[in-house]
């Protein structure tokens, strides 16, 4: 079986995987990083979004072996000890989650939105950019508010 190496949240990791192993399976089952979720089998929900070499990708739609030698960031890599990342804190402060299943993907997508669009985001931009992240609970209003507030806090 192929052996792969990558850095996940700054830590070097390696593992032996079947070629068919998805990145999300490697993260959850092998590395036990279960913050990244699987919400669908059609690549549509975005619960599995992580960053690979700084870009947001659906880890359910990438083979683990495709991330060989890459830098991977998951939701577990954001907080600094018990201090939440400003975007996580904004989701908490703005009631941007109910069951929380979509939240890791929402937060990882939100960071990508800030990266590409800056810290001052309008509602239309946020809604358009979040098209690949589905939430079954909140009705999105508070997610949009959280992303806006989180983006601003990241600039402070």
């Amino acid at each position: 079986m192929p052996v792969i190496h990558m850095r996940v949240n700054g830590n070097p990791v390696s593992g032996e995987v079947e070629a068919r192993t998805l990145l999300v399976q490697f993260l959850r089952d092998d590395l036990r990083l279960t913050g990244t979720h699987v919400g669908c089998d059609t690549s549509q929900c975005g619960a599995c979004v992580v960053h690979v070499d700084g870009k947001s990708v659906k880890s359910c739609t990438m083979l683990a072996i495709m991330a060989n030698d890459c830098e991977v960031m998951t939701i577990e890599g954001l907080a600094n000890g018990s201090e939440l990342h400003p975007m996580q804190q904004a989701f908490m402060d703005n009631h941007g989650l109910q069951c929380g299943f979509c939240t890791p993907g929402m937060v990882m997508s939100a960071l990508d939105i800030v990266e590409r669009n800056g810290n001052d985001l309008d509602e239309a931009t946020i809604r358009k950019e979040l098209t690949g992240n589905i939430c079954r609970c909140t009705g999105y209003h508070n997610i949009v508010k959280a992303v806006k507030a989180g983006a601003r806090a990241m600039g402070d």
Partner: protein, 264 residues
Amino acid sequence: MYDFSYHNPKNVADAVSAMNEAEDGKFVAGGQTMIPTMKHRLASPSDIIDLRGIAELSGITVDGRGISIGAMTTHAEVAASSDVQAMIPALAALAANIGDPAVRNCGTIGGSVANNDPAADYPAAVIALGATVKTSKREISADDFFTGMFETALEEDELITAISFPKADAAAYMKFENPASRYAIVGVFVAKTGNDVRVGITGATPCAHRGMRLEEVLNSNFSADALESVEIPVAKMNADIHASAEYRAHLVKVMTRRAVAACS
């Protein structure tokens, strides 16, 4: 998903020979169609030949006549390219509206064109701009490339290396999108160069095609109002849970009117 042997060639020649040695090999580019298809066991190739390590397949180059986009260039890269934005802004806008940001970070122009999904966006642009599909074997004109639903002129061991788009004087793409996937329920790309108008239609029928009747009218009168009299044949339209054949025929006309209006 069933297991397979994984290959990671560094150049086109090695990719082609890996394909020829495989029992039932498949190229994978961004994987945004291939991986879901394999997960659902609609495809179970013996070998996967990953094109992502082949540097010569990426990148955008400009010359006086137009723009050439490497097969492995992602939708996000096309959307963000200042060259594409300057030369054919409608193409950059099309790429910016494919799927969602994560799909655009992986999905490639070569993968989209090779896959020829009846609802994919790029085929409409390839057809309307009269692009040339460059492959590991030859050059194929847009009019000869898309042969049927999910079918193209590509042979088993032939891969797309780049697609070159001639610059148009004016061009616009309008799509009526499926709100869940953003795939085109109907998408129409209109390109005008001199007095020559070409219309590429996707989503409406099993395979993207030229809108000959629309072109005929637009060639003599390039205005949205001129399209009023054109009959769109309902019998050829796709029908599914998203839209009936009648509705799609109606949308073809509406999207064409909007694209023409956006050109002028």
